[in-house]
Symmetry: C2
Subunit: 509 residues, 2 copies
């Protein structure tokens, strides 16, 4: 009979002591493969324990693969599989899967890595985050909406939902879009996992590795690795004071046959540029003429503070050329991940099927709560409040820039809305990395321009987002930026320039 020592005073239950000891005996070869164990009845009697204790131990040993057992027969020690690490003196390294990575994925991952920036949370003047200020989020109103819908239909909302997305929320979105002169039915709207989710679905629909996508230079930095992960070839077209160079686009449409053109007509990220009506009309005409899908990213459509509204390209689209992307993330709750695509019904049907294929359904609960929240008028109220808050911040930033930014870099283009201001240091011989570092040392965090370019950029540049700072902080932060740039310029002035400076005016000749 087996030699087991049970300690009835130990904390470890008896069945567990039996397991531990039998396992050791098997591991050490005291019990060998094929050997029969005593019947549970016999072992129970021998040890003076209840028979179910033995049952339980044998079951567990079976589950862990130490013994085989068949009804009516005695349990038998198994010829056990040895996971590599259990072989002493031999170490089995973890498999390196990176060599098996998909090619596009490799590109996307290394792009993402190249975009990494130091996000110093301790930075006093943080101009990095392009997201609404959490201090002004209407959390309690949203919490009430969540409770309302959970009490009304929690069981349904916590089940699988319709991949098309909550109908009431699509109705609200359609009514919002009508305010921007886009006549869109609920069937032409698909709710997505935020704007990134919208882009992702469009790429699934259109892009094969090697296909071309036209982007602006600079463009939304987070779109670049996503496009590249799909194996897309990116052709970037410079953004000029009135938007993407359309002559160049026309040429590219002819030569490169792109699958998509990706553009942000309002408060472009990162430049803050808003294109005019004429630019939008020509952009649409060009895409229509070449039957190329135009992705209009209206990520901050509602965030206009100054001057006149320009209508979205989508409002002029009668042929379903435009895939319009909207989102709640830049004005309300980024964490909810609710965005949408507006496009022709046939395209929305395809995209809905793709969403079903890749994620079964969206988050019904969040969508329903958001629909209730909007239906109660909270969205409009919040937008008005947000306008007041961010207009003040934007005004403070623009005033400070006029006052403190060294004049040699020229005037800053003043955005009509949104959160971002683009500083391009034209004709400056300073290194962008050096500028970012010096600013960081002075307590100011800004987004380096380079991450928004697919290829190389012409001048050092950086982006300021005014969304997270109070007006006084913005003013002080920009004052520091101005001083830092001035100090850097003096430090890096070429020796010739330094010598020449006192004799400014005519040389001696």
């Amino acid at each position: 009979m087996l030699l087991l020592n049970l300690d009835r005073n130990a904390d470890e239950p008896l069945f567990s002591q039996i397991i531990t000891q039998l396992k050791k005996m098997i591991q050490k070869g005291v019990l060998v493969s094929g050997e029969e164990l005593p019947s549970s009845r016999a072992l129970a009697a021998h040890l003076g324990v209840n028979r179910t204790t033995i049952y339980r131990a044998y079951e567990e040993l079976w589950a862990q693969g130490y013994i085989d057992s068949h009804t009516g027969a005695r349990s038998v020690v198994r010829n056990r599989f040895s996971p590599p690490e259990e072989v002493e003196g031999q170490s089995h390294a973890t498999v390196d899967w990176s060599i098996q990575r998909n090619e596009g994925c490799n590109r996307g991952l290394s792009r993402l890595k190249s975009q990494e920036i130091v996000n110093d949370a301790a930075s006093k003047y943080n101009f990095l985050p392009l997201a609404p200020d959490p201090d002004f989020m209407p959390v309690q109103a949203f919490r009430k909406s969540l409770n309302f819908v959970l009490n009304r239909e929690g069981n349904t909302l916590l089940g699988y939902g319709d991949p098309h997305g909550n109908l009431s929320l699509r109705e609200f979105i359609a009514s919002q879009m009508r305010q921007h002169c886009m006549t869109i039915s609920v069937d032409e709207i698909l709710l997505t996992n935020g704007s990134q989710g919208s882009l992702d679905l469009l790429l699934r629909l259109f892009i094969e590795p090697g296909d071309t996508i036209v982007v602006e230079a600079p463009t939304y930095s987070a779109a670049i690795p996503l496009f590249e992960a799909y194996g897309a070839r990116l052709v970037s077209i410079g953004v000029e004071p009135d938007g993407m160079n359309l002559d160049r686009l026309e040429a590219v449409l002819k030569t490169d046959k792109p699958k998509l053109v990706y553009s942000m007509p309002n408060f472009q990220n990162p430049t803050g540029i808003t294109t005019c009506q004429a630019h939008r009309e020509r952009l649409l005409s060009l895409c229509a003429d070449h039957k190329v899908a135009l992705v209009e990213d209206g990520f901050e459509e509602d965030m206009k503070y100054f001057g006149k509204a320009v209508l979205p390209v989508k409002s002029m689209d009668r042929q379903g050329i435009v895939f319009y992307l909207g989102t709640f993330s830049k004005i309300l709750f980024p964490g909810l991940r609710v965005g949408w695509i507006a496009a022709s019904i046939a395209a929305i049907d395809d995209l809905t099927a793709l969403k079903k294929i890749s994620s079964i359904s969206s988050n019904s609960l969040n969508e329903a709560a958001l629909a209730h929240f909007c239906g109660q008028g909270h969205y409009e109220r919040h937008v008005k409040r947000a306008h007041r808050i961010y207009r003040r911040r934007m005004q403070a930033a623009l005033k400070a820039l006029r006052e403190y930014l060294p004049a040699e870099y020229g005037a800053v283009r003043e955005p009509r809305g949104g959160y971002t201001i683009w500083i391009e240091l034209k004709g400056c011989n300073l290194d962008e990395g050096g500028i970012i570092e010096a600013l960081s040392e002075a307590g100011v965090s800004v987004t380096p321009g380079r991450i928004s370019f697919v290829e190389t950029q012409e001048s050092a540049s950086f982006r300021l987002s005014i969304s997270m700072l109070e007006a006084v902080e913005i003013t002080e932060g920009i004052r520091i930026i101005g001083n830092t740039l001035r100090d850097l310029a003096i430090k890096h002035r070429p020796p010739a320039a330094l010598n020449a400076a006192p004799n400014s005016g005519k040389p001696d000749d």
Copy 2:
């Protein structure tokens, strides 16, 4: 001066009347491109309205592209872009984007279409949905957790979150996995948008169009279009009473060099089969020997009702061969879309970066609420309750099948847990579609077997899910299934057989 007729008693505001009339004049060519409009001051005086009314109308006309305006100069009628539909007598059809679809996407979409089944909501005995019964969801406990976390940190939770996923929830998951003998750290867990989201990330990482994935036949139906949308070539290996045929897998690993092997060791969907320890060991060995990633879908790990637990393959994995998928969707709230991948740290790092690339962050609020819910012990309590409920339903189903299913089809394999039972009508000459239709007419909805096969299947088959029906409904539904099958068999018996029947026994020779 312009001839405008303003009606001061109309509901339409004055500025809007001005816009409407000016637009008409431009559209009709009364005002032509390049023509100057009166200054706002002059027009205001002429019409006897406030100057801001004219301002507002001009701004809107500018926004809609009817006029150009520059500071200090008079507004000018624009050479307006005509959206195609506005040209009378000419209709411009919506662009058909389907011809530009990605090749894999085409395959995925047509597979999805081929899987469409009639989901008759009015069906009295609905054995279709593989999801927890909404009547037993602990909605109120979850609602409390939501309120708790929103009150504690709503501002943060509604902002962008960590793509890696909520730490407390990962800690809870790690502790759950330890109960299944998987020793996993929080850094080896990535939270995803449900199991479908997990699969999607794995495909992004590994699959190029043309790569091979090994699946079971039958397999999880919703995985098929997803795999195909990535352009994968699927090799399916038959599931036998003890699981996927591993001799065949060994051969395929050698000849087809797959990138992934996808398997559900517990309560396989749709067959309900649970593999034994020895099968799991060999499966792991084979994948390790060929350095092929093994995707272990543990979608119902916690749902064992009968007999002994078998340890997950992941519990034996020392080399990071296994990518283990877990989910809350089959036991708690499918609508929250929270699942996870457990894999080696390096692989999780890559997958986290891919998640960031494709969706920025996960839903922080839902994850935090779920973490709080689990931390309060609600998960364990709910699992216990779910076991009682579904065990009773499964027992009722198995009893009814023994009683009512025609004996000629052999005994049904009895699952040890989960929700699904697989009925394979071996040697039956009935058409699967005909069976499904006849059942549907009798008020019973079942999932046709064909949607779970990549290629053709051997016999007519269908899946029953017992999750949504009460025990008495299950019994009655299965009684109807038995009767329907019997009736069909009689109706479709070949004439020869009908003639032969009375003379059963020895033929006349």
